[in-house]
Amino acid sequence: MNKLVYKYSGLFCLLMLLVNCEKNNNQRFQIEKPINSGLDFSNTLKDTIGQNILDYLYYYNGGGVAIGDINNDGLSDVFFVSNQNKNKLYLNKGNLKFEDISETAQIEGKSTWNTGVSMADINGDGFLDIYVCAVVGTNGFIGHNELFINNGDNTFAERSGAYGLDFTNYSSKATFFDYDLDGDLDMYLLNHAIHTQESYGKSNIRANRNDLSGDKLLRNDGNRFTDVSEAAGIFGGPNGYGLDVSVSDFNNDGFPDLYISNDFHEDDYYYLNNGDGTFKENLKGAFGHVSKFSMGNDVADINNDGYADIISLDMLPEDEMVLKSSAGDDNVQLQKLRTETFGYHYQYSRNMLQINGPGHRFTETALLSGIAATDWSWSALIADYNNDGHQDLFISNGIPKRPNDLDYINYISDSQISKKLSTTNFIDKEALNLMPAGQLKNYYFEGEKGIRFNPVSDFADHQASFSTGAAYGDLDNDGDLDLIVNNINQSAFLYNNQTAQTNFCAVALRYTDKNLFGIGTKVTLYLGEKELVRELFPQRGFQSSSDPRLHFGLGKNSTIDSLKILWPDKTEQIIISPEANTFLTISYEGEASKSISKNLKDASTDLVFVREDSLLNTPIVHVENDYTDFNRHKLLHYKLSDRGPALAIGDIDNNGLDDIYLGSSKNQQDQLYLQTQDGFNKVKDSLFNTIAINESVSAQIADVNNDGHKDIIIGHGGGEFFGSSEVLNNTILKLNATLKSTQLSNDFEDTAVIKTADFDNDGDTDLFVGNATRSNDFGFIPESYILVNDGGSFSKQSLGELGMVRDAIWTDFNGDEALDLIVVGEWMQPSFLVQDDERFKDVSSDYGINALNGLWRCISSFDIDNDGDEDYVLGNWGENSKFQASPDAPMLMYYADFDNNSKTETIIATKKDNQYYPLDGLDRLSNQLSTFFKKKYNSYKDFAGQTIEQVLGKDHIESAKLFKVHTLQSGYLINDNGSYRFMPFEENLQVAPINSMTKVESKKGKGLLLAGNYKGVIPYHGKLGGFKGALILDSNTIIVGDELGLDFYDKVINQLGVIKINNKDYLIAVVHNGTVQFYEIK
């Protein structure tokens, strides 16, 4: 009998699968029709005086959704906010059938304009209550935030007044959490300013409290809430455009912290809970940059490393047509003004994925992770929707009218319309009709190991929509998470997850009386090597609130090793081998099992590098002179003027101790520190003043004239000099009693690297001189060459136009005991130059190097696979910018004088959907090529969607010099018996450019230390500062980040070196435009 059932059920399953296949086309979600589900809610907007996009800034923000089981029948119910009409509550009757009980439940609300909703058991009676936010006090909007206390019988009583939560201000969301860990739920109220932003005030106006628009922290004093914002250190300024708030214990100290997304130019706020009832805002300390027009956010541990990561949404379009017709990021000068003069943080208009780690400083990876551009985005919901053990991401988006359409901004030429817009109160239909709509399909991404996401475009059979609030919950209790999305002027979406028949674990918590649902509890699920962490803070999703039941996908595992529950009071409870694929309810066991957890993670104490700042009396500082390459070369994407400073370590004064030479930028003095037994002495010499104009980019210490004294050979360059500028020429510094400078070469080129070696084995020092490009003619390739030393006099052996060289090494790559040369640089591939009878020949392709152009920045030899031969580690640009390249779709750069004005330009194109498009928009292109483009394109619409061929014209495409980049990944060339294969590093080494490497010997053994980051890019790319350094021990053992003890986060490290002091090895890390760091190598 049993067998029979099994058989039949198998058949049934098969049939079901077939049916499903046909019906759903294997889509992850099926949209359930309102007529079947009963969820017939639509957030319908009707423009009226006071309620339209002109009069109210956030008219198109839509309403929220809350999912939660209001009657404790095991089925999660759904609440919708309607902006202008009545709110709705639907009771889940099972099988995805819902009953509208709004009227009898008495939750329809009385405010003019409703926004967000939260479900939480505020009075601790075991029933979820509902808190609805409203905008009140402007445009005739009346009412107040409403608190619907659950009577336990599917009816509610509005009690906001009694609880002190009947706010009459501009609210959009409330989140309930126990910030002071006193056992009850407190509330953070998110408000938004509603005035038009015209000028940037100083950022510190956020300290001036404004009751209507400022956020508030409310402490629960026993079913009565007290505003403690000011004492707790919560900003409530007039410019807080709060659009979302998330709670998480970001620094794993047991106290819940906050991340607030603010729209427009106000910074997001990152509040760390001090544990004493106060918070400290630390955005600038923990984030290199954040999203600009920050909208929804969500927090979850994405890479399963035990640290909560953040997604913050913005409005960067993916679609080429929309992208090129929409206003984008600031220009570099405005960014500077906004950050330096007005005091705001670095903000860029795109989604941000902020990856947390042991040092609690966030590395932003949205571009690398593939989730930066989802257009006008509202809700982000991170969860494991496909139950594979990796977090996935749902994003709702859409805007009825796109106010940032550039044609609209610039060319609504009908002066009558613009006059009407500027003088009348009521929105003109005609004017609105001219503005393009942003009806969009929601986005869904599936995660994999690590931090990459794969877009799943066909994840549901849904229409483009204006989707705003969203929430998840397992509405049909089939073991996967379904989604509800609130739409403007359209029925809400019920996305029924079709993942079934996979393994999951759902956990409901029962904590103590005033927080029965256990808000703030952290649950870790152990699954083999994996640790999956979830925190219970259900208010997530834009203006929304998700099911307070934690959900884990288990992938192929049908068993769980254990669950660890860390309750808000920091007691820990472990459940061994809980049953998978069931709905667990875990209750707090009280004092009996109480054991204070050691779970709280700390940064490693096993550091390899220990900061040592007392080696010098005063710190060595590099100052980059203030020069904006982009003002002169308006099409550049990265600077040419900031490659320095040079670092050279060697014994200049012949006392047996290594000295330090540090180059300088234009108009700054080079520095020379001589080491003695008692420390370092800085050389004071008027020559440094004389030669200060030089930009010193590369340096070596070697004896070039065989006089037994070492000299400093300095490569000069920099993007500020051109033509026959003497300061471009390379020099030799000699130290006798005083310093003397002599000219090394007379090439007037921008030298990027000088490397010394006695390649011809004649007992003297020869030099490789690698040149980059010309600063007034980017794309021009100068000659690079070898200076062959013949008894103190040099003769030049040209190596031809190698490319935009940045680094090189002398190395014997063919094992013939004669030094060969490998040269790397930008828009070129590693060039293997073999020495054959003292002449050099490019033999790259013989060594397996083909189509490997990168934006290479550095190279080092290192036996990475421990097989006894030399491999070569290569630093590249990384994959975390707007640059995109792969061998199949290389990034292209065209170099020509496109407008025949005797000045060349470079124009970059990247591939998208099988076509190459210019990376720059019309404004940037016509900044340099004004008539050429403005005559050709009279509107942004005409330009948008144009391929690079169409933009430049066939003739230019054919005649321009073409540069390519095939990969932006850093990695290594592995030596396979004399041939080399490129192996990219994992994604955590691709988050920023890698600029420098040095070999170190530490307690971990022989290793290669990598450092990087780069900020000299246009704001379109952002700021590439999230790389914390990495120590490679071998290809499988790479220690990344804060665990090393390095303070490289958000700093640009341009040079690394190792120096012996008192017989100990010290690391020198040269921070561009910052203080040189010293570390003892342990």
Binding site: Q197, Y200, T341, P403, I412, S415, L421, N901, Q928
Partner: protein, 449 residues
């Protein structure tokens, strides 16, 4: 020999012409195409409209006005002996070819040349072509021969002009560096709200001048020394802007000062943000306003077609050189705008009545241009030439009446104080600078016999 061949050629032309005339006499009678000053006004107005759409900054707009006028003028002056060619009077201009076809209607050619030269200077060529082609249709149907000959000649002159125009450094200045913002220098101009645009045309002083001998020929005296100490001249002027605008604002939108400020706003791109909405209200430039006044005066004085061309040409040269002179000083002194200083030091929330335009403060562009244009216009139409200025009616602003060009210029200049975008020195010194440019243009150009 040469003469012979010329005569032979003339004979051929003569024969063809006679044949042609014979043929055309046979067809329904071909009347002369008559173009009037109104056609000229329309052509100029069309360019103005397109400039509003395309968004040209005030200096660039002055360039778009002047060259088409000069092309028309040179054609006209070749025919009308009352006028002298500008060859030898403006920098680098060479004599245009004479018409070889006797069917050329020079006035028609002058008008066509105006449109053709305009077309090369604006962006939205399709808009001008549409306008042009509808006129072409009318003219061709009236007298195809005359139209085609006149068009061919106009195109020849236009291409002759283009060679000269292309040498004015305009395309080179497109690729020159942007203005370098350095907020650490307290007196240095920086971008202003709400759009925080880059400083426009930082290299306009490198554009070839027409009449003045260099951009710096009429360099104004220095502005009061930058100082924020109470009682310093500079600080007094800063406070004057703050106080005057506050008083005006208190008086309300109907105050005469606000009307004056708005009347002379002449900002081609005012960025407006309302809630989430952003758009630009676009108006004519200061140069365009004075071109509009030139039209009003020409109409009132009943100028002929040729006289009209003369008036437009001379005035637009005055405007063109005035911008070069003014921009030379703007990016010499790089002075910070009152809005920035008031927000920084006096009142964080203060906003000027007009939107601050995106370039340094000293001297006031409108003052310089108005000074120059009014001086030139006075030389053409005489002083105390009363006129009713309806130039801004299309932008919803009223008509204002003036007793003279000079009075209008004075009002345009002081409007910048009322608007809260200039200190008094920029207004006074700017007006003087402009009048100097205008006097020079008036005295040095011998256009009319």
């Amino acid at each position: 020999m040469e003469q012979f061949s010329f005569m032979r050629l003339s004979k051929v032309v003569l024969v063809i012409t006679i044949l042609y005339l014979g043929w055309s006499c046979a067809s329904p009678k071909a009347e002369d195409v008559i173009v009037t000053q109104d056609d000229y006004f329309s052509a100029v107005d069309k360019v103005t409209q397109i400039m509003i759409h395309d968004i040209f900054s005030p200096p660039v707009a002055s360039r778009i006005y002047v060259y088409p006028n000069i092309a028309s003028y040179e054609i006209m002056a070749l025919q009308n002996k009352s006028y002298n060619s500008l060859v030898g009077q403006v920098e680098g201009l060479t004599a245009i070819p004479a018409p070889r076809d006797i069917n050329v209607n020079t006035q028609l050619s002058a008008l066509i040349a105006h449109m053709e030269v305009s077309k090369t200077l604006i962006f939205s060529e399709d808009k001008l072509e549409q306008f042009r082609d509808s006129l072409y249709g009318v003219w061709a149907s009236k007298n195809e021969t005359q139209f085609e000959a006149s068009q061919a000649y106009a195109l020849e002159v236009a291409s002759h002009m283009k060679v000269w125009i292309d040498k004015d450094n305009y395309s080179q200045t497109r690729t020159m560096p942007k203005f370098n913002v350095d907020a650490s220098v307290a007196s240095r101009w920086q971008p202003t709200p709400p759009a925080y645009m880059d400083g426009i045309e930082p290299h306009w002083n490198k554009i070839r001048t027409l009449s003045i001998d260099s951009a710096s020929q009429f360099k104004p005296k220095s502005h009061p020394k930058f100082a924020l100490d109470k009682g310093s001249d500079f600080h007094n002027e800063l406070m004057e802007v703050y106080n005057v605008t506050n008083n005006i604002t208190a008086e309300g939108d109907d105050s005469e000062e606000i009307e004056i400020a708005q009347f002379w706003d002449c900002n081609p791109y005012v960025s407006v943000t309302r809630g989430h909405f952003m758009f630009a209200t676009k108006k004519i430039t200061p140069g365009a306003h004075w071109i509009g006044i030139t039209k009003i005066a020409s109409q009132k004085a009943n100028l002929s077609f040729d006289e009209t061309i003369y008036a437009f040409t001379k005035t637009s040269i005055g405007i063109f050189d005035a911008f070069i002179s003014c921009w030379d000083e703007k990016y010499r002194s790089n002075l910070i705008r009152p809005e920035t200083l008031i927000n920084q030091h006096i009142d964080e929330k203060w906003k000027p009545i007009l939107q601050t335009p995106p370039f340094p403060e000293y001297t006031s562009g409108h003052s310089v241009v108005s000074g120059s244009a009014s001086t030139v216009l006075t030389s053409i139409f005489g002083d105390n030439f009363q006129f009713d200025d309806d130039t801004e009616v299309a932008f919803g602003l009223p008509i204002r009446s003036f007793e003279s060009f000079n009075k209008a210029a004075e009002e345009a200049a002081i409007s910048r104080l009322y608007g809260g975008i200039h200190y008094m020195a920029a207004i006074n010194d700017g007006l003087l600078q402009g009048r100097n440019v205008g006097k020079w243009v008036t005295n040095s150009l011998k256009m009319k016999n």
